[in-house]
């Protein structure tokens, strides 16, 4: 239990620091940035309390908003993704949704990919909708969402493969 809490705290701080110091300054092709802090929402055990996840997600977004000078977009997007996570994992893993190791073994690779993609895409769509907040710029929102999602997804997939020794 204590070990788990320590692990979560470590992830929380490390991901915020990495996001603020590195990933938000990449500006690939001038404007595309990945948001791999979502790894926190991905790695949070699927069988743990969702209420705690909601609060953690809220504060994760809030700290990022405060440090990245964005108004409230990270908070709203992360919070919503945390809220939708059970539905997304049910959709992608089916009966294995409650399996705490669903992301490491015992599930198909395609299911994991769908899980990640849905999570990331939802988050980015909400994030860009809130930051731009203008119905007339819908094409800009969608293109930004698509490119950033691909960027984030590849980073998340690589990170997961790197630390996943068991096949």
């Amino acid at each position: 239990m204590i070990q788990e809490t320590l692990k979560i705290t470590g992830q929380f701080i490390l991901l915020i620091v990495l996001q603020v110091l590195i990933f938000s300054n990449i500006n690939f092709l001038g404007y595309i940035n990945p948001y791999p802090y979502l790894l926190f929402v991905v790695l949070y055990r699927l069988d743990s309390s969702q209420t705690v996840l909601l609060f953690l997600g809220f504060f994760l977004g809030l700290f990022l908003d405060l440090m990245l000078q964005t108004a409230g977009a990270h908070t709203i997007a992360t919070l919503t993704v945390c809220f939708l996570r059970p539905a997304i994992s049910n959709f992608s893993f089916g009966v294995n949704a409650e399996n705490s190791h669903a992301l490491e073994y015992g599930t198909k690779r395609s299911s994991r990919m769908i899980f990640l993609a849905l999570l990331v895409f939802t988050h980015h769509l909400i994030y860009f909708s809130i930051t731009i907040f203008n119905w007339n710029a819908i094409s800009y929102i969608l293109s930004n969402t698509l490119y950033s999602s691909l960027f984030t997804l590849s980073i998340l997939w690589l990170t997961l493969s790197l630390f996943n020794v068991r096949r």
């Binding site: 209420t51 609060f55 977004g61």
Partner: protein, 266 residues
């Protein structure tokens, strides 16, 4: 009772989510001016259609009274027409040169706050833009602030931050008019120098030194005045001709020479 508590526990995640989402939106609204105006606009859009419905129903019951008010206004305009028989310009659509008039109805009006606003049923689709002046049948009413496709919100003259350039009709002495708060039928005219004479009953009209209103639109009359301790300026209490607690039909003024004016005075 037990069932209600059970229902709350069953849906606690959804409730917590909604609560935190509300916090996040408040945070968004407070931190970013852009989002604040966008959210205000959204609110105006939603509330506008609601108020319109309410006003449409309520309107039926005051038709007779409104008819009377319109007849009265007509009478005044005819009087003006006979006073200037050769001035045919006064019945053309642009009553005063350089200004276009558009009719609108007030669908929401407040007069009991420190910063009062109105909502009218014409918006960007009817060529209403921000910073246009609004006049009623009896005198000036306010200034347009924000517009959506079908509605516009305006700062009432009874708004703590609105200041209007006004003058005494008798001797053209300029001052600045504002609402000190509290009473809906008391305005203050300040910065009129004591070298001018003022009398109770004098008419106050717009000065024409702002882009919003042409000059000589009636505002109100002097009910009391005093000389400030510095002995340099008057402080004049003005009773507006417009009854701000019963606004219905108003006209939006578009200044056609605004761009030209702003080029001279950036």
């Amino acid at each position: 009772m037990q069932q209600i508590i059970n229902a709350i526990f069953r849906n606690k995640n959804a409730l917590i989510y909604l609560l935190l989402l509300l916090f996040a939106f408040v945070f968004l609204n407070n931190r970013s001016y852009y989002h604040q105006t966008r959210l205000e606009k959204l609110g105006l859009k939603l509330a506008g259609s609601l108020w319109n419905l309410q006003d449409n129903t309520a309107n039926y019951f005051s038709l007779q009274q409104q008819n009377k008010a319109l007849l009265e206004e007509n009478r005044k305009l005819r009087e003006l027409l006979t006073a200037h028989p050769n001035d045919t310009d006064s019945i053309s659509p642009t009553l005063l040169p350089g200004f276009t008039y558009r009719h609108a109805r007030v669908i929401k009006n407040s007069f009991d706050q420190a910063r009062n606003t109105l909502v009218i049923d014409k918006g960007a689709r009817d060529s209403i833009r921000g910073e246009m002046g609004i006049v009623g049948p009896d005198g000036i009413v306010g200034i347009v602030n924000e517009t959506t496709a079908h509605y516009a919100s305006a700062l009432s003259l009874l708004h703590a931050d609105v200041r209007i350039n006004a003058k005494l009709k008798t001797n053209d002495a300029f001052g600045s008019l504002y609402w000190p708060g509290v009473e809906a039928n008391r305005l203050l005219l300040t910065n009129i120098s004591t070298i001018n004479t003022v009398a109770v009953g004098d008419i106050i009209v717009t000065g024409g030194m702002s882009d919003y209103f042409p000059k000589d639109i009636p505002i109100g009359k002097v009910v009391a005045f005093k000389i400030l301790p510095s002995k340099r300026y008057y402080e004049i209490e003005v009773m507006p001709f417009t009854n701000f607690t019963a606004l219905e039909h108003v006209y939006i003024l578009q200044n056609n020479r605004r761009e030209e004016l702003q080029q001279l005075n950036p």
